[in-house]
């Protein structure tokens, strides 16, 4: 069992903890970091379904959007308490996913994906047209939250508030992937029939994975509403849902738990920085995505974690070596005896 200090979650957490110091230096700003973390939560949640259970959903925007709207409803009609708002947003996302799941979970492959598209478009249409409830095209605006004397409108305060949820998401989801339940989810990905033959009700586990993914997508949506002070129908459109698919695969979610985080960071940063220069930022992102699919099928994290065919070091260690940092196992010289 690795000591906590060496766990990857610790390093990712550390990077994001000190990120606000470095963001302005590369032309970023604190709010961008907050947005990255929210997208990372969304992508990690999405990957519970894609990377671990092997189900491709093009309709996760529905659950993100549901979480976004339910936080807004909670603030507008129920209470100014941000924790309750987030809880309701999360539960709404989970419930929506569960109900959709009851209908679609027995389907596989392309039929599953098509149904997810259909459902998200239903959610999107409701969001855009039910103006009295959702604000329609204009969206639903909310006021600021405060926790005691802390004003969540302050960029840095909001950053660390979201950071807490980001850590929470990483820890919980990571634990689940390493648990027995997680193993069965993975088994569904690799060989559905064999898992069923072993006696597992695969559909129950799929529904669990779907609902889990919906709960945390709802969390991301709720945090998004807090950040931008409004809930919109746009993220529920199926091409907006496609964004999270792309960032997850780009980052390496198919082979690595942390891949989605990297993908979310790259996507969000490019979107912010390049769209200022040209409206065709998607073209640049598209080129990047195609290059990664062709040359790094395991995504960027997959590439970085790839080990040398001769049983040597992982790629990221070798990259760091190039710039002078000596890490990891040293290659033994010819004839040298290593005492382990």
């Amino acid at each position: 069992m690795k000591a906590v200090g060496r766990s990857p979650i610790f390093f990712v957490g550390l990077i994001f903890f000190i990120l606000p110091l470095f963001l302005p230096l590369i032309g970023g700003y604190t709010d961008l970091g907050t947005e990255i973390m929210i997208m990372a939560i969304y992508a990690l949640a999405f990957n519970m379904l894609l990377g671990f259970t092997g189900l491709m959903s093009f309709g996760h925007g529905a659950y993100f959007g549901t979480g976004a709207y339910f936080l807004a409803f909670t603030q507008l009609y129920l209470t100014q308490n941000v924790w309750i708002g987030i809880l309701f947003g999360m539960l709404a996302g989970g419930l929506a996913t569960f109900l959709v799941g009851l209908v679609i979970i027995r389907k596989s492959g392309i039929y599953f994906s098509l149904l997810t598209v259909a459902f998200t478009q239903v959610f999107f249409t409701i969001g855009m047209r039910w103006t009295e409830v959702t604000g329609g095209e204009n969206g639903l605006r909310i006021g600021s939250y405060a926790i005691g004397s802390l004003d969540l409108k302050e960029p840095l305060t909001l950053y660390y508030f979201v950071f807490a949820f980001f850590l929470f998401t990483m820890v919980v989801l990571n634990k689940i992937t390493k648990s027995p339940v997680g193993r069965i989810m993975k088994a569904n990905k690799y060989n559905r029939d064999r898992t069923m033959a072993l006696g597992y009700n695969i559909y129950r586990y799929r529904l669990f994975a779907l609902t889990l993914s919906g709960l945390f997508s709802g969390l991301a949506g709720a945090l998004s509403t807090i950040r931008i002070h409004a809930a919109f129908a746009e993220p529920m459109n199926w091409f907006a849902s496609g964004d999270v698919v792309m960032m997850t695969i780009l980052g390496g979610g198919l082979t690595n738990f942390f891949g989605p985080i990297l993908g979310a960071a790259i996507f969000t940063t490019l979107q912010d920085l390049i769209s200022t220069v040209t409206i065709h930022w998607m073209f640049i992102f598209g080129l990047l995505f195609v290059s990664v699919i062709l040359f790094m099928p395991g995504g960027i994290m997959g590439f970085l974690m790839e080990e040398d065919q001769k049983g040597g070091q992982a790629m990221w260690i070798r990259i760091l070596r190039l710039v002078g940092l000596k890490l990891g196992r040293q290659k033994p010289k010819k004839g040298e005896i290593i005492s382990s």
């Binding site: 032309g27 709010d31 095209e137 600021s144 931008i228 200022t276």
Partner: protein, 425 residues
């Protein structure tokens, strides 16, 4: 031992090359990352954030309003700038999408630290940017969003609106048409918030002034075939056919109305029209009465403004300034005058106060422009125009005849009727 992976990666390109490529890309990405900082080095410039559509439904109108803003910027920069600083526009594309508009507005405020924002064609984007302005306490001048809410229920202390609101335009048109053309109306309503709001207004005005709505057809967004709908109009035989439809759908509607002979048979009117629609359609197909914020042949004083436009933009798609262009110009100009009056480009509260009591003569509009301090609506002249027959046109840009000129305050809500409650500074 792991089997040799057979893919393009291992066969032709060595890892070393890929690493080099990766490092090169990283260098490129970080250069791109630095780019906005390089492009927008603040120095001693006054930066105005422009949130305006460059793509999507209203891309053309966005380009037009930005030309107007650019004219104001060049005019003031030629005289030394505003409070001694050269003005710079930081342009962001809102893609006619409110979520994107909010994102761009937030980036302008938090990344580029602007204190002033301007722009907006789609009212939904104006609402989104207005919320950011209110939260961040920066000033936002709406140049082309007409929804009544913007100076009504959704007004805020930091937001100012240049074009007329949907109430004053409907009322101006309705009064004239009911009196001069006919009282029995049939209306096509574009089925989105803008169309629905105007429809509500029209029905209220009809009820108040003894008109009747013989019927209404809801037109879904993105309709390209109006044949079934147009046949209904011929069936009903109204005295006036109201086209409460906008954007590309409106263009399609007018073309088909012409083909069917409907536009010849029935007098037409709209609650709102942009010059660019008529320009796209051409004189015979463009028909009907509508209010417009400004028209280049509206009065002789506009000539100087038209000449300045042609000197600044000799290769522009439209050879004369349109209503959206004028609004961009006068909005930016008013903002500069307010900043100068307040004596500060950093204390937005002072600029708000100065803006609320702003009054100046605008030669391009033959009259005074001022701001209503209780709802931040710009009051100035506006025009009721009718599409001209080709034989009456002075030149290819003379698409309209001015029927009547009024001041926005003649038709907009009175203070007691307004839903706007401005917060304290």
């Amino acid at each position: 031992m792991a089997t040799e992976k057979k893919n393009a990666f291992s066969a032709k390109i060595s890892r070393r090359q890929v690493l080099k490529g990766a490092l090169a890309s990283a260098a490129t990405v970080s250069t791109i990352a630095m780019w906005p900082k390089i492009l927008r080095a603040a120095e001693e410039t006054l930066q105005i954030g422009v949130v305006s559509p460059a793509s999507g439904n209203f891309g053309d109108q966005g380009a037009s309003e930005r030309r107007g803003m650019e004219m104001a910027v060049r005019e003031f920069n030629a005289k030394g700038g505003v409070l001694g600083k050269k003005v710079e526009m930081l342009v962001e594309d809102d893609q006619t999408n409110p979520m994107v508009a909010a994102r761009k507005a937030r980036a302008l405020v938090q990344r580029d630290k602007v204190k002033f924002m301007i722009g907006g064609i789609s009212s939904a984007t104006c609402v989104a940017v207005g919320q950011v302005a209110d939260l961040e306490k920066v000033i936002y001048v709406i140049t082309n969003g007409n929804a009544e809410d913007l100076t009504g229920a959704l007004c805020n202390r930091y937001m100012f609106r240049v074009p007329f609101d949907s109430i004053s335009c409907c009322a101006f048109m309705a009064e004239y048409v009911l009196k001069e053309i006919g009282k029995k109306w049939y209306m096509f309503t574009h089925d989105y918030k803008g169309g629905q709001d105007s429809a509500r207004m029209v029905k209220k005005l009809l009820a108040k002034n003894g008109g009747t709505l013989l019927g209404e057809t809801m037109i879904p967004m993105g309709t390209s075939d109006f044949s079934a709908y147009l046949l209904k109009v011929r069936e009903v035989k109204p005295e006036v056919f109201i086209t409460n439809v906008y954007g590309t759908d409106f263009i399609n509607l007018m073309k088909q109305a012409y083909e069917f002979g409907i536009s010849k048979e029935f007098p037409m009117a709209s609650p709102l029209k942009d010059y660019s629609d008529a320009w796209a359609l051409g004189p015979n197909i463009s028909k009907g009465i509508a209010p417009m914020e400004w028209y280049h042949y509206g009065h002789p004083g506009a000539k100087a403004f038209v000449e300045a436009y042609q000197k600044n933009f000799p290769a522009a798609a439209v050879p004369i300034p349109e209503n959206t262009c004028y609004c961009g110009y006068v909005g930016m100009k008013a903002l500069f005058l307010a900043i100068i009056k307040a004596g500060t480009a950093t204390d937005t509260k002072k600029v708000v106060s100065a803006f609320e009591t702003l009054k100046f003569l605008e030669p391009a509009n033959d009259g005074e422009v001022y701001v209503q301090e209780w709802d931040h609506q710009f009051i100035q002249n506006y025009y009721l125009v009718q599409a001209k027959e080709e034989k009456n046109m002075k030149d290819r840009t003379d698409l309209f005849e001015v029927l009547k000129i009024a001041k926005v305050s003649d038709y907009t809500l009175k203070r007691e009727e307004s839903a706007c409650k401005l917060q304290k500074l």
